[in-house]
């Protein structure tokens, strides 16, 4: 079920009406059943994977908690890590590594064909495996006490608002909200409606209207494109992926809020970031935090000296890239972000005196935001391209062909029409320092913004429905 489909909203209407009349445990059972229906509507066969992950991590967490010996705790934790990463590795990476291994063996004169499998990537597997792994690791670290209530834990794993594309919730945030009675507040309704409205707007109006421009640029032979056409295609993709993913997260946050749950903020105006470190505190925050806590810090973080800190940054970003997909473009994307973080670290160490003052000035900050936005846009070229060859070819055209075609005017016009109002709104929110600025403003301002969203959603949806990009991760 997609959030941008009529069927989802009928499903949710039924859930929310029944939810209001049930006691706490009844609500949890309803949400668990609803979550399995929500996922099974896509493909019921893959429910078994969620169920297996749930059973393993439930018993592993209990085992770790009941074990007194550190070595034994570690051994039990390994079961969870191997099972979750095994499932993820098999469904997501097996074919990629099989093909690459075959080619490598061929290169060294060993023609060993490794069979690839005709398997479909289960929707959301990267998200729920990371979420359940964080639970067992946190129990191992003593940050979370495992629950004995199996069905409530099953809801933590499969909670439908964030099951297939995040936010990746930590057990210490979501699990207590499942276990304890959730207050039904008037504020939840107001905030929930806001998240849903802006999420739908970002997904349906921004992302889906950018899709035909992006598809046109990335599906044409590069020799048919000019540099400005590629540039505008990348800008369009920057807004497509932002609208798509942050839209999903907002809707998830909103529907959870209507049921009394507080999900984590996954995006905080990322295109207003002025440096790589700032960006990762604004973009896909729950994944960045996950990678920081369960990969970067265990690798040593910044505790082992400058050089090893840089190595840890690069390794974390490379694996972050691989998390997004089994392909060299994603690895290159991670590598590039690793380089940005490293460069920022080095540059930050050396920046002093007048240079620092200039950078912190309002104009300097504005320029830094624009400059950094373009660095991020380059990363989107790596992310969206079908192959590294396409990246090289596009980069070549970017610096050699400056023809401004009708398509460039058209795509720029579409970008301004659809994305500029969002940028203006986010600038207003960013400047206020209040992520809930819209909710906290005068009702007439709020009503005007919602009316704009409603009209755009009703009149300007794309001509064909697009699925959420992050479902494939």
């Amino acid at each position: 079920m997609l959030f941008n489909s009529f069927i989802f909203w009928i499903f949710f209407l039924i859930i929310i009406v029944a939810y209001r009349y049930l006691p706490h445990q009844g609500q949890n059972r309803l949400l668990l059943a609803g979550s399995y229906i929500f996922y099974g509507y896509w493909d019921y066969r893959y429910l078994s994977l969620i169920f297996i992950s749930t059973i393993i991590d439930y018993f592993v967490a209990t085992g770790i908690y009941n074990s007194s010996e550190q070595q034994q705790k570690k051994r039990i934790l390994l079961i969870s890590i191997c099972a979750n990463l095994g499932m993820l590795g098999f469904f997501k990476y097996y074919n990629f590594f099989a093909v690459e291994m075959s080619e490598l063996l061929l290169l060294i004169g060993l023609p060993v064909p490794i069979k690839t499998l005709n398997i479909v990537l289960p929707v959301g597997i990267s998200f729920y495996t990371f979420q359940t792994m964080s639970y067992t690791i946190d129990v191992y670290r003593g940050k979370t006490v495992p629950t004995s209530r199996f069905l409530d834990f099953a809801l933590y794993v499969s909670f439908f608002p964030q099951l297939v594309a995040g936010p990746i919730e930590r057990s210490y945030n979501l699990l207590p909200q499942i276990l304890e009675k959730r207050p039904q507040l008037k504020e939840n309704l107001v905030e929930g409606i806001y998240h849903i409205c802006i999420g739908m707007f970002k997904k349906v109006v921004i992302a889906d209207n950018m899709a035909p421009i992006v598809n046109s640029v990335f599906s044409r032979p590069v020799s048919d494109l000019s540099g400005p056409e590629i540039m505008v295609g990348i800008y369009a993709f920057a807004f497509q992926i932002y609208g798509d993913f942050s839209g999903y997260s907002s809707i998830a946050q909103g529907i959870a809020k209507l049921m009394g749950f507080n999900l984590s903020w996954n995006f905080k105006m990322p295109y207003f970031a002025s440096n790589p470190s700032d960006f990762w505190q604004r973009w896909h925050i729950t994944l960045s935090a996950w990678l920081r806590d369960y990969l970067y810090v265990p690798l040593g973080g910044n505790r082992l000296g400058k050089l090893l800190t840089l190595r840890n940054l690069m390794l974390t970003m490379l694996l972050g890239g691989l998390w997004h997909g089994a392909g060299w473009t994603f690895i290159a994307w991670g590598f590039y972000h690793g380089l940005l973080l490293i460069a920022y670290r080095v540059f930050e160490f050396k920046q002093q005196g007048v240079a620092r003052k200039l950078m912190e000035h309002r104009v300097g900050k504005g320029l830094r935001i624009i400059f950094f936005f373009h660095l991020i846009c380059f990363s989107w070229l790596l992310f969206r391209a079908d192959s590294i060859d396409q990246v090289w070819a596009m980069m070549g055209v970017l610096v050699t062909n400056f023809e401004i075609t009708n398509f460039v005017y058209y795509a720029s016009g579409m970008l301004i029409f659809f994305a500029a109002p969002l940028v203006a709104l986010e600038y207003w929110i960013e400047k206020s320092g209040d992520l809930l600025k819209v909710v906290n403003s005068h009702w007439l301002v709020r009503a005007s913004i919602y009316s704009y969203f409603a009209v755009m959603l009703w009149v300007f949806p794309p001509l064909t429905n697009q699925v959420f990009i992050y479902f494939q991760f």
Binding site: F6, E191, N215, F407, Y410, L444, A447, S451, V459, L463
Partner: protein
């Protein structure tokens, strides 16, 4: 970040009321000006009148053309009425809303022609690719808003209209004229504010990735239940169905299953995919004929139709 302030229920009610008011005002504005949104919508609003004329006219042969823009561009209506070598009087009527296919044509016929009978009428459907198959993509919003009644849904089950998502879109289209006309409104607005909107959109629509007009061609396992139902309706109102395969630049094949369906139902097929004198330069784009192409196509069509519209043929129908 601050937490949301304590809000009053009255304020939120006002917010919801204002948003709903804006949507209702927009709905009223569109309903009042709907026929001015585009030539296509204007044409859709003339369908009842065309249907009435087609049913009332007493010529030797009434040719009711049912199709989409392919048929609209290909049929030269004034010219066809002068091309009657068998000295029968012919009247032609075109019902050709853009982007339509079998499910739309089924509903149009049932809504406007089923209750009337005119034994000298031919219903001539122009099609290309898989436009007669149940698997051809449907536009449920348009079906709900313009062409179909709720009772038509069962007959179109094979097209997927009864699936949840499609059915809900059908309902949304039947309720809101803003929603059903959103494509026309969108085009009007964007054509005004976005440079080269029309030209670029046409190019994008023709690209294989975004092409909906040609979707469904070459699909295996096509079924023709809706087409068979339409033929049944046409027969029950004493009219004769004729189908014509339309010319496009890149030729297409006709599904063997469809050919068998024509044969078993006794439906004449006028294969006009390759009209001799039509050249590539007579197409406005890759699929629509220009005026000259239209004139040549119309002459070729009338020639092929002659055996069916002769007095003898009409007598057999009577």
């Amino acid at each position: 970040m601050s937490a949301p302030k304590v809000v009053s229920t009255r304020e939120e009610k006002l917010v919801i009321l204002l948003v709903l008011s804006v949507l209702v005002l927009l709905e009223i504005a569109i309903r009042l000006n709907e026929d001015r949104l585009s030539g296509n919508i204007s044409h859709i609003y003339t369908i009842p009148e065309i249907a009435r004329q087609a049913s009332d006219t007493t010529s030797d042969a009434n040719l009711i053309f049912l199709g989409n823009s392919l048929t609209n561009n290909a049929i030269d209506k004034p010219h066809i009425e002068t091309l009657n070598s068998s000295k029968n009087s012919i009247k032609a009527f075109k019902i050709t809303p853009d982007g339509t296919a079998i499910s739309d044509w089924y509903c149009i016929y049932n809504q406007y022609f089923l209750e009337t009978t005119n034994t000298s009428s031919f219903v001539i459907i122009g099609f290309a690719w898989g436009q007669l198959s149940d698997q051809f993509p449907i536009n449920p919003t348009r079906l709900g808003g313009f062409f179909c009644q709720i009772e038509d849904i069962d007959a179109l089950e094979a097209t997927g209209l009864t699936r949840h998502q499609q059915f809900l879109r059908f309902l949304a289209g039947s309720v809101s004229h803003v929603y059903v006309n959103r494509e026309a409104i969108r085009n009007r607005v964007l054509d005004t504010v976005v440079p080269y909107y029309k030209e670029t959109t046409q190019v994008l629509n023709r690209s294989p990735q975004n092409n909906t007009e040609m979707d469904g061609r070459g699909k295996s396992m096509s079924t023709y239940t809706s087409f068979t139902n339409l033929n049944q309706s046409i027969k029950s109102s004493n009219r004769q169905l004729v189908v014509m395969a339309m010319p496009v630049i890149d030729n297409y094949s006709i599904d063997a299953e469809l050919l068998d369906t024509f044969t078993s139902l006794g439906i004449p097929l006028l294969d006009l995919r390759n009209v001799e004198k039509i050249e590539k330069n007579m197409f406005l784009d890759s699929i629509h004929l220009n005026a000259e192409g239209s004139r040549i196509f119309t002459e070729a069509l009338v020639e092929k139709l002659q055996p069916y519209i002769s007095n003898d043929r009409l007598n057999t129908l009577n």
